[in-house]
């Protein structure tokens, strides 16, 4: 399977993952969305040197991955393209903040090193929570939840259509790449001289296809608003989940849990 076909298959697998059944999948989409937003907001709000406090935040995604029956390694595998970027964000910190904060095994640990690690952790935890949300909630249900939060319909439609049409665009790219390689045997990738026309053709083909699709939608009564999944009313399980997670996340943020735990063993 080539890279493009692999990417298409991964997109489809995400749909299949979201359609699976587990206690987390059965939770109301709005509850999951609200908790995820809170989790990300709280995670990024931790002070830059608060490594210990941030570590506690790892519990939420890890526990929910277990409950949803989704291996954590799958998350890292799917996010492999984004993770290096997230990790690269704080890479300059050790040079910008060289003041030693502590010594570890005789070696000085600078503020820049700690802030780099916490920045990476914030990014990775946020990605894990987002992945968990989309891996346990079908895109239609997620869009319905966004509309319930009064996110503008145009933005939600854009999100939905982008998600749907990434697959179609990948297929167009795959067809064009295949046609190119059949006439350029032995060549790795697409030669730089062909990039312009390749991208131009892709744009034109995508526009044609988009026009056809939009026409098809118009002909079936589309007036700018999708009828998203019929999400049922929130049940007690959703309310309990939201309340427990909110309490736990806020506790993790404002109570020094690691210090409290440590004080049980060290006096």
């Amino acid at each position: 399977m080539d890279k493009l076909s692999g990417a298409q298959a991964e997109l489809r697998e995400m749909d299949a993952l979201a359609a699976a059944d587990s206690p987390v999948h059965r939770l109301h989409p709005l509850c999951k969305l609200l908790v995820t937003i809170l989790y990300i907001a709280v995670t990024v709000s931790f002070p830059k040197y608060d490594f210990n406090g941030l570590m506690v935040m790892l519990l939420y995604p890890v526990l929910l991955f277990q409950a949803a029956g989704i291996p954590v390694r799958l998350c890292f595998y799917r996010l492999r393209m984004v993770l290096p970027l997230v990790c690269a964000v704080g890479i300059a910190n050790p040079f910008l903040d060289p003041v030693p904060l502590m010594r570890l095994g005789g070696l000085p640990v600078t503020g820049g090193m700690v802030s780099m690690v916490t920045l990476m952790m914030k990014g990775i935890f946020s990605l894990m929570a987002s992945f968990l949300l989309i891996a346990t909630t079908p895109i239609d249900a997620l869009c319905a939840a966004l509309r319930k939060l009064h996110v503008p319909g145009l933005l939600v439609t854009l999100l939905l259509l982008t998600y749907r049409y990434i697959g179609l665009m990948l297929r167009e790219v795959a067809v064009m790449t295949e046609a190119y390689h059949l006439r350029a045997p032995g060549q790795r990738g697409i030669h730089i001289s062909a990039w312009g026309s390749f991208l131009g053709q892709l744009l034109l083909r995508s526009m044609d296809r988009a026009e056809e699709l939009y026409g098809s939608m118009l002909l079936r009564g589309f007036r700018g608003e999708f009828h998203y999944a019929d999400i049922p009313a929130c049940r007690a399980s959703g309310v309990v989940f939201t309340m427990v997670c909110t309490a736990a996340i806020l506790t993790a943020r404002f109570v020094r849990i690691t210090t409290l735990l440590g004080s049980l063993f060290v006096r």
Partner: protein, 249 residues
Amino acid sequence: MIEFQNVSFGYDAAHSVVEGLCFSIGKGESVGLIGANGAGKSTIMKLMLGLLRGSGEIRVDGLLVCRENLPAIRKKIGFVLQDSDNQMFMPTVYEDMTFGPRNYGLSKAETDRRVDEVLNQLGLQELKFRYNHKISGGEKRMAAIATILAMEPEVILMDEPSTALDPVNRRTVIRTINSLPQTKLIASHDLDMILDTCQRVILLSHGTIAADGDTETILRDRALLEDNRMELPFCLQGWSPSTRSHLPG
């Protein structure tokens, strides 16, 4: 049911795709639209649906095709696109079938009733919850027809419905078309299919009507067809699989 009066359209002022078209189609008629590539078959359908705007007058069930009437007209017409991938944009067949009815304000219960009725009518119940990307080309074409029938249109337009189908799927599509009581306009190069499904044929040539009449009369007219870059349907060419071995090559 459908009336074209002096309809012209061109993508630029210098070149007309269709020129001074006048014809009408009665209720319940099944009409084939044939012609060489670029003759204007798809353009006629898009003009009828208001996706393209030309000059002249087009009426569907008495309604003039204009911006104000488009919602009402599009509710009456179902359009089966040539490429089913462009038509099936929801994840599953069920969701695709509910897209139109829900947009027209039908309740979930009524929509589900229509979906089941159409799937039963076409014998496609097993496709209901299948993912669109996992069904075959033939199944996708049938599902595309089902999405249109779920809207209960009065007129059905089909653009090359038999393209890229194997013989069995093609035959299924033909049987399905013949079982539909609606007014039908079918654009196709598959003249054998037109012969099997339409009582009347409109032959287009460079955007004008070269012939309009009984299907058999037109499709048996070798000279007329050849003048318009077409050939007799295979079934009228006087050969069959048993005589195939006598053909050169």
